[in-house]
Symmetry: C2
Subunit: 433 residues, 2 copies
Amino acid sequence: MQTQALPGFRDFYPADLALRTHIFQTWRSVAARYGFEEYDGPPLEPLDLYTAKSGDEIVGQLYNFTDKGDRQVALRPEMTPTLARMVAAQAGKLRKPIRWFSIPQLFRYERQQRGRLREHFQLNCDLIGEAGPLGDAELIALAIDVLRAFGLGPGDVRVRLSDRRVLSKLLQHRGVPPSGMSRAYEIIDKIERLRKEQIDELSSRPDVFAPATVSDLVDISRIRGWDHLESELAHSSELSKSGGHLKETYESLSAMGLAEFVDVDLTIVRGLAYYTGVVFEVFDARRTLRAICGGGRYDDLLDAVGGVQLPAAGFGMGDVVLGELLREKGQIPPGGASIDVFMAYITREDLPHVLTLAHQLRDAAVRVEYALTPQAVGKQLKLADSRNVRFAVVVGPDERARDEILIKDLRSGSQESIPMNSLANTIKARMNG
Amino acid sequence: MQTQALPGFRDFYPADLALRTHIFQTWRSVAARYGFEEYDGPPLEPLDLYTAKSGDEIVGQLYNFTDKGDRQVALRPEMTPTLARMVAAQAGKLRKPIRWFSIPQLFRYERQQRGRLREHFQLNCDLIGEAGPLGDAELIALAIDVLRAFGLGPGDVRVRLSDRRVLSKLLQHRGVPPSGMSRAYEIIDKIERLRKEQIDELSSRPDVFAPATVSDLVDISRIRGWDHLESELAHSSELSKSGGHLKETYESLSAMGLAEFVDVDLTIVRGLAYYTGVVFEVFDARRTLRAICGGGRYDDLLDAVGGVQLPAAGFGMGDVVLGELLREKGQIPPGGASIDVFMAYITREDLPHVLTLAHQLRDAAVRVEYALTPQAVGKQLKLADSRNVRFAVVVGPDERARDEILIKDLRSGSQESIPMNSLANTIKARMNG
């Protein structure tokens, strides 16, 4: 007898599902405002779709197996390879730029820890066929607007914005040779989390990024805000030119009124190797949770995975960290009643009338329940109370003799008899009133 | 380079996803009218959750494997075991009757043929903790109302309704011994599809259901409609009593105005061994497709799988056959435009104003797009046309000098200049008007 889900997998009881639905609906409605259309792909894909992009080492984190047709398959750990596959298959036919979003459930076999499940849902938004900075701004604005739609403001969430092209030029300007670039990225990525002794220790020996030093990296990692970065870039025209795309992205976000959410911050490197330009992550302002959202420009990926040359940018936002933040900020909407009307009956002979009327109400899109086992009317009304329902409708022999029924408004306590054939209209009017 | 999904798995491009969304929204809205609340469980479950219910032979049809923690796991082939597991885990806390629905994606490794995929989505509605016929009627009415909501009438879809208890009593009355019951069920189940020679062949030799004969089974399989069945049941009070539950189910559906969809028909046996009472299937009226929906009462299952004694009934309705029927009946809603407003700009200097105004519109839940690469205004308006959008809004230096913008209604061909700060209100008013 099995009563537990697998470790790292969630059961969604109705209250949990209501939060998930709130998250999905908000994701969908904001994506639609940006003209994004929803797509989906299979949760099970050929294994080589993932190894082609991420190398064989990813297999250690996958739910992969051999199917009964001897195919190497895996539960999807991320959506981008499926997206690249689907776009490649129809590349000629699809209108550019492609504005697509999806809400896949993703799977990774990971060591379990708080907030690290083995499955989660993720909003994926991608803009394909557009290389310019307005595209990056569009995606970042979409991510911010999603969070605003959840009731979060610039005091709750912060976008950390960088551009790989700027970072690489700045590192080059400080003397980092091409062969030292990825090591420099790696240190920049974690420099915030290093203790002073660790930095001193790093500084005490030459590294592959010499002649640049650890203190050059520290300098770069401390740049905060567009103005600060712009003054750093003023040192050469090549540097200044490298910042053009980021500048326009930032200014576009300003024109949209969203700059107050954005911190230019070059320590955002993004672990995945495939980003080529603007990259960003969104964190809770107090930085107590993992990233809420991350993404950027990946102009070479569609060629690598799907053999199609199209510039692209996108982001992913998971439901788990977001849910934690909403809970922390009190932004989880209260659960409502599952029904609008409870119908009660006094005698067995009233029951067919209840069935008829209940069905009329349901046809008018009213949510109705009634006791499926005949029982005393008092007990039925107690049932109605337990449902937190607004209206109880009582059908009895006396009312029926007059072609009437009794409506009780359980919120106001008022009750009145109305003509039986006006029930649906009366309830609809009161629900809207 | 991988451009194909696995065989039997679907890619949902936006047009396909729009149909899926239409199906899911209709499922959700009708389930809500019946007070059903949505739940979900993991798509990956312990293998023994399925073998406990269906025996080891089911493994041949599963996507099963050993995970990296040495657990035997399987992609869910059906939802009921997960439901039973979840209900069992919280049985004491959950309000009865439990009215739950879910829209899981289900997976089976099957031989491929038309309409037989290896994954599909299925609406699952279950009513747990209610043994009476009103519960069965409630579920069947919900299934019918879902189909009505898709624009299908009694000339399009037919519910075939039976009750295992009635069938078993009728077979017993004709002389079928307990040991011959499952063989008799098996023949009843397929009797419609047997050719005359096959029936003659069966009749020519004694079977385990003797002294009953094949012609007894043929008689029973030819019973059509409640009145016909009732006259058959009139032969004994025990028979008549066995029909009480089915009678009340049928009469309840009549009171709801849904009897015109329902054919009482004892050849509906349902393959799964666990049904204990009322069973039903829904077919397209011409019977050219597989079943659209099937379900019934399974009072013993929760005990067997979850160790909780609660009566239960439910049904499943898949998206694949339903989609085929909707297509055949012309009931697929036409795809709409993905945006409401396309914003165009005449000079580079107009762009920041476009960004500001577009964001204001998006904040007002209007779906907006604009050219992400600056281009001639004529080209932008062509882009707007290709989007099938209703409104184009043009920002140019002359209009800006007057604090105005130009709105073109691409449906009516009319255009007018309005104050810039009234854009959102004007668009909202016209969209609703």
